[in-house]
Amino acid sequence: MRMFDAVIRNLPFLMGGFWITVKLTSFALLGGIPLGILVGLGRISKKKWVYYPVTFYVNLIRNIPLILVIFWFYFVMPIIIGHPLDPFPSAVISFIIFEATYFGEILRAGYQSVSKGQIEAGYSTGLNYIQTTRYILIPIAIRRMLPSMITQSIVTYQDTCLAFVIGLPEFVRRTTIVDNLEVRSIQLFGFVAILFLITCYISSVVSRRFEVKRERGY
């Protein structure tokens, strides 16, 4: 086991970092997807006071690198709210703001693929806007866009590494700390790569099983 001696010696510390990565990913998705559902609705809204602000937000964020969003949020928020934020909540909020725009655009495409007639069928049975949106538009769009949404979720998971720039002791950050002490870069970062590879691969296999459901024809 000499090959992985430094990893084994520091395993609890490294896995603690991995756990932070998993938590950050989960919060980013739990916030980013629901917000993305609303952002997507805003992007197809006929109400100008909804459409323009949402579109501005989406275009702004999507044209800024994620690392800058994380930085900017971490350094600017204390000026606005008057006290510094912890890296973890700051990273979670940055990721939610960032990912919601990507999920929003994926879902906008999904909403636009739903036939106008299916929505009108809902209205013609007396359902209101919220009901047709909730029971018809959103479920159809999510089912159709599931493969893209899973891909985006995997990207989010990989992107969480960027939170190291604000000192969040996540997986990669902790590995760097260990490497500074142990000087075993190849095995340490090799271990990080393998763990990412395995978890991402499992997620994509699971997502392909979801796609089988699409045989129902939506």
Binding site: S115, G117, Q118, E120, A121, G122, Y123, S124, T125, G126, L127, N128, Q131, Y135, I136, P139, I140, R143, E215, R216, G217, Y218
Partner: protein
């Protein structure tokens, strides 16, 4: 039941409906025909408020459709609508398609809504398809589920927008039979269709529309034999072959 007075509608500068006047009494079946682009579908969509209109008035069961104080959602529960392309919700089974509105709008219990849905599926002849998804149903079966979905709200009026135009010939009859049944059962119906056999059998009135106007109306067979307008004759020659 439905009163349409001097109805006019524009899309931008283009006038789609011109001075439509029509009265439909309870229990009547009115067939609307005419070339595509003549405003037939738009007329139906104005009646249940899916499309706004600029001039005139539509009164459904005593309620003015374009009165800003009218609750359109409530009005639409009284008017069933069946579409050319069925428009079933693809992520729901036939049964779920039918029970959605009764449960969410009428606040019926799942059990009650499902019992009613099964009764309706029985009536349209496909109770065994209750748990199938639309993708696994033929066009004719999908359209019958769509009819059952509308009927589940127990509407006072049923509107059909070319319900058989997207169907293969062998499936047209199964849908028409359901509609004939409904009409004979006393439902107030407006049907946009070119199925003249259906019109002959159940129509109380046949309206012919062209360029947004009603240019001909007749109570039954007379309409086919001696159309007054050359456009009508031309059109009937085409569809009757």
């Amino acid at each position: 039941m439905i009163e349409i007075r001097d109805l006019s509608k524009w899309y931008g500068n283009f006038q789609v409906l011109r001075n439509i006047n029509e009265e439909i009494k309870q229990g009547q079946t009115v067939v609307v025909c005419g070339p595509s682009g003549s405003g037939k579908s738009t007329l139906l969509r104005c009646i249940n408020g899916l499309e706004p209109f600029q001039e005139g008035e539509i009164i459904v069961d005593g309620v003015s459709v374009n009165d800003p104080s009218t609750n359109l959602y409530k009005l639409r529960t009284e008017i069933g609508m069946v579409f050319q392309r069925f428009e079933l919700y693809p992520h729901m089974t036939a049964l779920q398609n039918i029970t959605l509105a009764p449960m969410k709008v009428r606040k019926k219990s799942k059990k009650e809504a499902e019992a009613k849905a099964m009764e309706l599926l029985q009536r349209v002849g496909i109770p065994e398809k209750a748990h199938e998804y639309p993708a696994n149903l033929s066009g004719g079966q999908q359209q019958r589920v769509a009819i059952a979905r509308s009927l589940a709200m127990e509407p006072k009026i049923m509107m059909f927008d070319e319900p058989t135009s997207a169907l293969d010939p062998e499936m047209i009859k199964e849908v028409l039979d359901v509609m004939i049944d409904l009409s004979k059962g006393g439902m107030t119906m407006i049907v946009v269709t070119h199925e003249m056999g259906f019109a002959r059998e159940v129509a109380d009135e046949i309206i012919f529309m062209d360029e947004g106007r009603i240019i001909e109306r007749g109570t039954d067979i007379s309409f086919f034999k001696n159309p007054k307008n050359p456009r009508t004759k031309d059109f009937l020659d085409k569809i009757l072959l």
